[in-house]
């Protein structure tokens, strides 16, 4: 007996107009603008080495932004990641310098610490579902940095083996390792978010937690995984950052959480959850990074830079809400 053919009633009609009026194209436009600006500022900018230097100037922060997309898609927020960077970096440094653990093992410890930090966030949030992510991660943000300060007090820890600095500075040809690692992870995260059931479930949870629960999605388990991922990637950032600076202090990574959130939100991922696409977030990472680099080239003072980044964030989020913003309506990722 032949199965009756399924009839899809509401099929999405492809339209070029809709395709080009997506938020991501607006981001591409801004991205090109930023790059043109940089080219005008510096004649050396548009060489492969110039571009790669520009990329390495911000890319270590971008590792936090990857899982932050997941966190925001499920409609939550994690502001403890900056402190997780500090804690995992400090513990890595101390276990090498004071406890005499080999550096390779210390790096693994760093990753474990980050994972544990994220896991603790997740456990608290899933055991006590009444609590808000904002306030729990605020508490752990104070706690993790507090522990980092307890361990190192106001000291710095340095004297890493010479190969350790290669993690950040090392290159294959002229491409830094870090860029390759980032591309690999970005692709994996993008595929997971858009092409797997896990990703679809993230959107479902972000759109409606209760409905997802009744649809049989293990909401709490997925939340736990997402927060643990956020912690893990904070420690990846910690490794690159420590390798770059060659030393660590308890106050490193301060404000990284807010920068990562800015990047993701600019990329069109709504903080209300269930909306946004991965490509947007990746483009936004590069927009903010290149913008900072370009402003740095013309010696823009740090305060002005703060103002520009802040204004960019507000305008970008407000723009689609204004009436003229109908032009660039944000594409929702929930309906494919």
């Amino acid at each position: 007996m032949a199965q009756p053919k399924r009839v899809i009633v509401a099929e999405k009609v492809f339209s070029w107009k809709k395709f080009f009026l997506q938020w991501e194209w607006f981001l591409v436009l801004v991205f090109i603008l930023v790059n043109v600006m940089n080219m005008i500022i510096s004649p050396y900018y548009l060489s492969s080495s110039g571009l790669l230097t520009a990329t390495s100037s911000f890319l270590e922060k971008a590792f936090i932004a990857l899982p932050m997309v997941f966190v925001l898609v499920i409609g939550e927020i994690d502001i403890s990641v900056g402190s997780t960077v500090a804690l995992s970096s400090v513990i890595m440094a101390v276990s090498y310098n004071k406890l005499g653990i080999p550096m390779g093992a210390a790096i693994i410890i760093c990753l474990l610490v980050g994972t544990l930090c994220g896991f603790i966030n997740g456990i608290i949030l899933t055991k006590f579902t009444e609590l808000f992510p904002m306030i729990v991660t605020l508490a752990t943000m104070i706690l993790y940095r507090g522990i980092a300060v307890m361990i190192l007090e106001d000291q710095a820890s340095k004297n890493f083996p010479s190969w350790f600095s290669n993690i950040f500075w090392g290159k294959i040809g002229s491409v830094p390792y870090m860029l390759l690692v980032f591309i690999v992870f970005a692709v994996i995260f993008g595929i997971v978010l858009h092409k797997t059931t896990f990703g679809r479930r993230l959107y479902a949870i972000g759109s409606n937690k209760t409905a997802s629960k009744y649809a049989g999605i293990e909401v709490q388990k997925i939340r736990l995984i997402v927060y643990t991922l956020a912690g893990l990637f904070a420690s990846v950032t910690a490794i690159f950052l420590t390798s770059r600076m060659g030393s660590t202090r308890p106050n490193i990574g301060e404000g990284y959480e807010l920068e990562a959130i800015s990047m993701v939100v600019l990329g069109g991922v709504s903080t209300a959850g269930g909306k946004g696409r991965f490509v947007g977030a990746v483009i936004a990472i590069f927009i903010i990074g290149f913008l900072r680099y370009g402003l740095g080239l013309i010696n823009t003072p740090a305060p002005t830079m703060l103002i520009i980044i802040g204004a960019l964030l507000i305008v970008a989020v407000m723009f689609p809400n204004l009436k003229l913003g109908n032009l660039f309506k944000r594409k929702t990722g929930t309906i494919e």
């Binding site: 904002m134 007090e153 709504s270 903080t271 103002i307 407000m318």
Partner: protein
Amino acid sequence: MDKIKSITKVLTKSREISLIFVLIILCAVIQLRNSQFLSLANINDLLVNAVIMSILAIGMMCVLLIGGIDISIGSTLALSGMICALVMRDNPQLPAIFSFMIAIGVGLICGLLNGLVIAKGGVIPIIATLGFMNIFRGATYLVANSQWVHKEQITPDFQNFTLNGLFGINNMIIVSVVCYVIFAFLLKFNRTGRKIYAVGSNPEAAEISGINIKTIKILVYSLMGALSGLAGALWVSKYASAQGDSGKGIEMDIIAACVIGGVSLSGGKGTVLGVVLGCLSLGILNNALPLINVSSFWQDAIKGVIIIIALILNVMTQRTLDRNNLKRREL
């Protein structure tokens, strides 16, 4: 048995009573370890240090009441303090009261901007205030040319404000108590105050019953800004200098104090008394740890643990309450 039950009932019934209870135990323990703790001088110290925080916390409570959040207050505090100090530097003959009004005015404008972007622009509060946090902080450095305003450049009148007092009570404490009373009254008995609670508890219902949510939002963020301005002026007066990075990160402490004081982040829940007690507990913590020989490097970690414990206790008591309520209904 019944008596014990009723006592625990009273204790868990209200957030404020249980907090007072915890504070008394805390004070007793600290007092046993160091007899200096409850001396008049130290209590005065403790209160003066907690005052700026509590003024900000009251504003933050209003913001949390409508279900919003404001993380730009540290920057607003710095900007308003800085502008008021700069004006004072250039016009030394200006009476202190004008300097205060300038600071409050600057804060009000900052808050108004926040409110407009959130209410009219439809930007989520944490993102909007995150943006303004950067903008105001940048503006603070810009207006001051990345320099400090020093003690000599600030008029003595203005500096003395936080040193002097009425009847032996420091002016700052008086100012803050006036703020508490005004806000407690507004939130309890004034129509606008009740609207704030209404918007926080159920925005849809509030809108249907004819409350203009946008106006309330703008009002609340402006109030928060004005209070940050006031706190900024007090900050400059107390530390006798204005710096670009003053008040950095204070917003997190303030939110923590509100949460310890029983304010809910989902909105609609919280009282002035609770918030004041929340600030007091953080103030006691900051003040007492050095007195009982705990390294100052441990402070943040301990603070973090205490906030987590407070949060979890909150949930636990709420769960028992709900369970008891259900039981009563079954009978």
